[in-house]
């Protein structure tokens, strides 16, 4: 099967190269009202703001909703959208004032209640919302969403209070100065009454307050979005609408783009990367996204948790030739990681290009020495577990293993351990069945350094799959969250990140880029830091 995939790609590559010269663009007519078509994937969960945790559903929510804040597509900075102001004096009690004049596309006014109702719905255990933990900072969360399996004691969050039509207050259960900046995440979007009154109808055809309306939605195959003429916001769509088409295989989407059947592909298949220059020229874009790939360790396995293992982990990190792998396998669509965050945060946001330093550089000799000093690999070998169903994980895991084997002069030191499906992979991780390092990818929810550290390395955090625990790190994160001054908070987070480095809690591999290719009809195509195209800014000629 694997050989087959390769052959298919090869055929594909040859044929595309042949075809490149014969490719024409789309039609030349149409004004600002023209509609573009874009590739899409079937969302995994029902399309509700607090239930969507992957990029395909996120795309739609980003088009049909506007929240209190919105992340600037260019810089990632959280800017006020529906929020007139968010005030606090102690980083724990917040007063939110909603701007006047906003409505949902069905005419209903967006009020303080639209937010409070939506958040209460999202947090409520009864509603099975996958993103409920986003409301975990708000007081009363453990009553509406008892995580220990206890009985639910309340239906609404006690920390949320509507003051008047445009004002509500939020009380957090702990100090968190970054809280306003998290409010750009889709889970915090306001919801119209229609969502609660006739939920089934709403899910079939969502109604929001963003620049686009859902015109028609054929689940599993296509969603047609049209520009909302009366959209009150400053970021009106510059095109007539977007037709999102579901593709099972991104190679087919790319072929359709070549044939002029599709205007925008936001995931150029790895096999086509070498042709993309010929096929598209400057109609191709690859920019850093807030995604980092790491190798996590099972700290619940005492083999990996005994003293001295930090040297082994550091040694493994130094045995990986990141640059060669990103250059050859990923054709520079990934950048070797030099810290545990992402370049999209920017220097001010906490990205520090040399934080990892030596430990992330390729030093095969020293790697061998460090691993020996640390007591060697447990049992003399290491297996990297990954899911083989998506991405090109197999290719890079094999490459990482080769790199480690070469550095250690041992053909059998490192082997890959593929798991058939993502669900099974996650299942084995949550049941703590890992016996060696495993693939850990992280796509940020919001562009804050906190989001790259706390969920992954804080004791018992939601994505701390390896169960790493370090008191010094936890204390620094707590202090950083309480800090009201942004620069000082970032400084404390970076100190916490240095703890991660010194213990080598996880091996950073590379930062991932988002990519897009488009037809000659389009201009002004950009990707935001979440690797989603900024649809409203695209111009169609």
């Amino acid at each position: 099967m694997r050989g087959a995939t390769h052959a298919r790609w090869a055929v594909c590559a040859v044929a595309v190269a042949l075809a490149a010269t014969a490719c024409g663009g789309g039609s030349g007519s149409g004004g600002t009202g023209a509609v573009l078509s874009a590739s899409w994937g079937d969302p995994q969960n029902p399309l509700e703001p607090a239930n969507t945790n992957e990029v395909q559903g996120g795309k739609v929510l980003d088009m049909i909703f506007r929240g209190l804040k919105r992340y600037d597509p260019e810089t990632g900075e959280a800017k006020d959208m529906l929020a007139e102001r968010i005030e606090t004096s102690d980083s724990q009690n917040y007063t939110v004032t909603v701007k006047d004049g906003w409505t949902f596309s069905n005419g209903e006014k967006v009020t303080a209640r639209s937010f409070v109702d939506a958040w209460n719905y999202g947090a409520n255990l009864k509603n099975n919302q996958r993103n409920a933990y986003f409301f975990g900072y708000i007081e009363g969360y453990d009553e509406v969403h008892p995580e220990d399996g206890g009985e639910q004691r309340a239906d609404t969050l006690s920390g949320l209070k509507v003051v008047d039509e445009r004002t509500f207050t939020v009380r957090l259960s702990q100090k968190f100065s970054g809280f306003p900046d998290t409010l750009g995440y889709n889970a915090f979007a306001p919801l119209p009454r229609a969502f609660f009154d006739d939920h089934d109808a709403w899910v079939r055809k969502p109604v929001g307050n963003g620049p686009y309306l859902v015109d028609s939605y054929a689940r599993g195959s296509q969603m047609s979005l049209r520009t909302w003429a009366d959209y009150p916001g400053p970021d009106k769509a510059r095109n007539g609408g977007v037709d999102l088409k579901v593709y099972t295989d991104n190679n087919t989407a790319y072929t359709d783009l070549m044939a002029g059947n599709l205007d925008l592909v936001d995931d150029v298949p790895a096999a086509q990367l070498k042709n993309v220059g010929n096929d598209l020229g400057d109609r191709y874009l690859s920019t850093p996204a807030g995604i980092i790939q790491t190798l996590a360790f099972p700290y619940y396995d005492e083999n990996w948790n005994r003293p001295g293992m930090e040297k082994v982990r550091r040694g493994l990190s130094m045995a990986i030739d990141r640059k060669q792998i990103t250059d050859t396998i990923f054709r520079k669509t990934r950048t070797p990681a030099t810290d545990w965050t992402s370049p999209v945060l920017g220097e001010d946001g906490g990205f520090k290009a040399d934080l990892c330093g030596e430990a992330c550089a390729y030093r095969p000799e020293e790697a061998k020495r460090l691993i020996a000093e640390g007591g060697g690999l447990p049992g003399g070998r290491v297996t990297l577990t990954y899911n083989a169903d998506t991405g090109s994980h197999r290719e890079w895991v094999d490459a990482v293993c080769n790199s480690i084997n070469n550095a250690l002069d041992d053909e059998r030191a490192c082997t890959g351990n593929p798991v058939g499906t993502f669900a099974d992979f996650r299942n084995q991780i949550t049941r703590q069945r890992m016996t060696g390092p495993f693939r850990a990818g992280w796509q940020m929810d919001y562009p804050l350094i906190q989001n790259f550290l706390q969920p992954l390395y804080y004791t018992n955090a939601s994505s701390n799959d390896g169960k790493w625990s370090d008191k010094e790190f936890d204390d620094l994160v707590d202090r950083a969250n309480q800090e009201t001054d942004v620069t000082r908070a970032v400084g404390l987070f970076q100190q916490a990140e240095e703890v991660v480095r010194d213990r080598m809690a996880a091996i950073p591999l590379w930062y991932q880029n988002g990519s897009a290719g488009w037809s000659e009809r389009l201009s002004d195509v950009r990707l935001n830091p979440f690797s989603v195209p900024v649809y409203d800014q695209i111009k169609v000629s």
Binding site: A22, C23, D42, N45, E54, T248, A423, S463
Partner: protein
């Protein structure tokens, strides 16, 4: 005849129960699907427990199976993880795949049998050698290669067709995918028909028919072809079920949102309800197609009688 059909229908019940049970167990062995629903993080235990209860995953497997089968008989195939009813998925996917399968079968019957008859009657001539060589190539090249090549040549390079099928999947857009899907079976049908025709050409009843002065056309269609079709019909009948379930590759290449697409996605997401539901229907299709094939024998060969 009537009693035979009833007996066959009754035999389907244990086959159906066994097949669904096997599939149910296979999907269950893959483990807990809830873990994959929360992205790269642990689902919080409370939500995970509620989701498990909602999809009935908290019960023992035998109980899940009994509940599921009970629901199936009332027409309720459960809900997929994205909140869609499986029956709704079926109502969009099956018509598309059915159209695709019909086109493929049509290609097999029209082109396959025609080529088979032509080559069978002209054994050893250049036409025969040419077609044999051609079918050999078709059989040995995997479907995805033919599919991708034709897609790129006709769709991108020459621009005759759309490389992908739109969501409505009208008949004309399904022509090329249908041909690709049929290609391998088509080659087999040609070869089967050819051998069968060549063999029967020398049989007594054909010689008699020719000797009593029947026109050649009538000899070929009425006597020769009808008697040579039995193995071909068996093959095509079994192929109906195979094409419907085996269209995963073709549907992926041409982005057709049919049964193959839903099955693929169901397996990736370990969605028991989708996979078992679709396979159950496919099992039924297989069983019915086999019955129809057996009944066709009697039509083709009057010597065969069912009691």
């Amino acid at each position: 005849m009537g009693r035979y059909v009833v007996r066959r229908l009754l035999q389907m019940i244990p086959v159906f129960a066994g097949a669904t049970l096997l599939i149910f167990l296979m999907v269950n062995v893959m483990g807990d699907p809830i873990a994959g629903l929360c992205g790269e993080r642990r689902c919080d235990p409370a939500t995970a427990a509620r989701l498990r209860a909602e999809f009935g995953l908290d019960k023992p497997v035998w109980q899940q199976y009994l509940t599921y089968m009970g629901n199936v008989f009332t027409g309720d195939f459960g809900t997929a993880f994205n909140g869609q009813e499986v029956t709704e998925l079926m109502s969009t996917a099956f018509p598309v795949t059915l159209r695709l399968t019909l086109i493929a079968i049509l290609f097999e019957v029209v082109i396959g049998i025609t080529l088979g008859v032509v080559t069978g009657l002209r054994r050893g001539r250049p036409v025969d050698t040419g077609v044999l060589l051609f079918t050999l190539v078709v059989i040995s090249v995997p479907t995805f290669v033919t599919g991708l090549l034709l897609q790129l040549l006709l769709g991108v390079k020459w621009g005759w067709i759309r490389p992908s099928v739109s969501s409505e999947a009208p008949l004309d857009e399904l022509l090329l995918p249908g041909l690709v899907l049929a290609s391998v079976s088509l080659a087999y049908v040609t070869r089967l028909t050819r051998t069968s025709i060549a063999e029967n050409r020398r049989s007594d009843y054909v010689r008699t028919a020719v000797a009593k002065g029947l026109p050649r056309r009538r000899v070929v269609t009425r006597h020769l072809l009808r008697n040579s079709l039995i193995p071909v019909v068996t093959f095509i009948g079994a192929d109906v079920g195979f094409l419907m379930g085996g269209a995963i590759v073709t549907e992926r290449i041409f982005n057709i949102h049919g049964v193959g697409y839903q099955l693929y996605q169901g397996i990736l997401r370990q969605n028991t309800q989708t996979v078992v539901g679709f396979v159950t229907v496919l099992v039924l299709v297989f069983l019915v197609a086999n019955l129809v094939v057996d009944l066709l024998y009697a039509v083709l060969d009057p010597r065969i009688r069912y009691v």
